[in-house]
């Protein structure tokens, strides 16, 4: 970290000016994510019309200690939540006396779903996230109460269902009725917010790979969500992370589940097209 500073100083003013014009990216590390003998792809060529050349999972920017927690499902603290979710998968709730298992048998029947979310939903005429789809099952099919966006049961269930797509490439729809939402998300991504007056792109596009005090900036991809954050001592949703980033720049965040965050999620997911789903990933 201090290293690059030293090099820049040694190169002198002209190199410094060059750096001001085009922010430099320090590279992510070269480690490989292997879980149970299976290689999970953590970098791929960026999708068409991406401003980046290559896209990387956030895992590649974490310390070796944090990385190793995700390489072994027994050490991965996110799996406690997955186990809890398996229990609620089989538990009947609500007026219809049904559980998730009544309709979907095994969670593995939902393999691939995570890679497509958020996706266009005719029923509501807007994109649906994993949380939206789970709640639709609860209210319309089980006659049970909707879960809160960040409620433990909800986050745990999104982890269990997303895990079924682990290793599969993210592939969200960006055309058709999704196009307008992707565009809206893109606007939000590049809008400067807050007293610190920054956009998502300032940190995750212009400065990924750079150290921002004790944090190593990633591309802010969402392929690992919900993530287990050591700082949260638990799992958190994509919208929780968006909210945290906005608060850090002293902005009033949008609400979890708001149209703005759904649009932003769709756009950020599209920036990560081709990266493998990693849920539940581990971050600091």
């Amino acid at each position: 970290m201090i290293n690059r500073g030293g090099i820049v100083a040694a190169l002198g003013l002209s190199a410094l000016m060059a750096m001001i014009v085009a922010p430099a990216h320090a590279d992510p590390d070269n480690n490989q994510l292997i879980i149970d003998g299976e290689v999970i792809i953590t970098d791929v060529a960026a999708p068409d019309d991406s401003p980046l050349d290559r896209i990387y999972s956030g895992w590649r920017f974490r310390s070796p200690e944090t990385q190793s927690l995700q390489m072994d499902d027994f050490e991965n603290p996110g799996f406690v939540a997955v186990d809890d979710a398996i229990e609620s998968w089989d538990t009947a709730e609500g007026s219809e006396g049904k559980s998730c298992a009544s309709c979907h048998s095994d969670p593995s029947s939902l393999a691939g779903l995570r890679t497509t979310l958020p996706k266009w939903d005719e029923a509501t005429n807007k994109p649906a996230t994993m949380e939206n789809l789970i709640n639709r099952c609860r209210t319309d099919r089980m006659g049970a109460e909707a879960w809160g966006w960040e409620q433990k049961e909800m986050v745990n269930m999104t982890a269990l269902v997303s895990l079924q797509s682990r290793g599969m490439p993210v592939n969200v729809q960006t055309d058709g009725p999704m196009a307008e939402w992707i565009e809206k998300g893109k606007d939000l991504y590049y809008t400067r917010v807050g007293q610190l007056n920054m956009s998502c792109s300032n940190c995750h596009e212009d400065n990924y790979g750079n150290q921002i005090r004790s944090d190593h900036l990633s591309q802010g991809q969402v392929n690992g969500f919900p993530v287990y954050r050591l700082k949260w001592a638990g799992l958190g949703s994509i919208h929780r992370r968006f909210k945290g980033c906005m608060e850090n720049i002293r902005a009033t965040p949008f609400k979890r589940g708001s149209d703005e965050f759904i649009a932003l999620e769709a756009y950020v997911a599209s920036r990560g097209a081709g990266l493998a789903v990693e849920t539940p990933s581990v971050r600091n």
Binding site: I2, G194, N197, R213
Partner: protein, 153 residues
């Protein structure tokens, strides 16, 4: 006793009034030729206080982005901006004040660096920070006094 307190309060009020009278508000600062001449607070800066503001995550938090060899006791210097070593050799006092006040006007409209004494902010500013600059006039002068000590030549 009571009289004393009243007198002391009056003295404090008086001195803030003087300080405020000399303070250049964020909307009045003029950046001319990428520089701001003259103290924003009407007072000289205190370099030691400025050094603390650089470190403080709730104030300057300059180390989030800048490496600075003069503060070795603090771990985790960022690498988003250029190192600040020798910065006073590269820029005049007026230029550095302008960079602190509003780097986007002084230097680069697309800069990630916050404008520390400007009300030209992003949208959706959190309520508790609305209408406020990140640093006060005197704090800018303090940081500036500290930056002026960063000479290598």
């Amino acid at each position: 006793m009571r009289k004393l307190i009243v007198a002391a309060t009056a003295a404090i009020l008086c001195s803030t009034a003087i300080a405020l009278a000399d303070t250049v508000g964020p909307n009045e600062v003029k950046i001319v030729d990428a520089a701001v001449e003259g103290s924003l607070s009407g007072q000289a800066g205190d370099a030691a206080a400025g050094r603390d503001i650089m470190i403080n995550r709730k104030l300057g938090n300059c180390l989030a982005c800048h490496q600075n060899s003069e503060i070795p006791e603090q771990p985790f210097h960022g690498e988003v901006g250029p190192p600040l070593d020798g910065v006073a050799d590269r820029w005049s006092e007026g230029e550095l004040r302008a960079i602190l006040v509003d780097v986007k006007t002084a230097m680069n409209p697309d800069s990630i660096m916050p404008s520390f004494y400007s009300l030209n902010l992003g949208v959706r500013v959190a309520e508790s920070f609305a209408g406020k600059t990140i640093l006060q006039a005197q704090q800018v002068e303090d940081v500036l006094a500290y930056l002026m000590t960063l000479k290598e030549e």
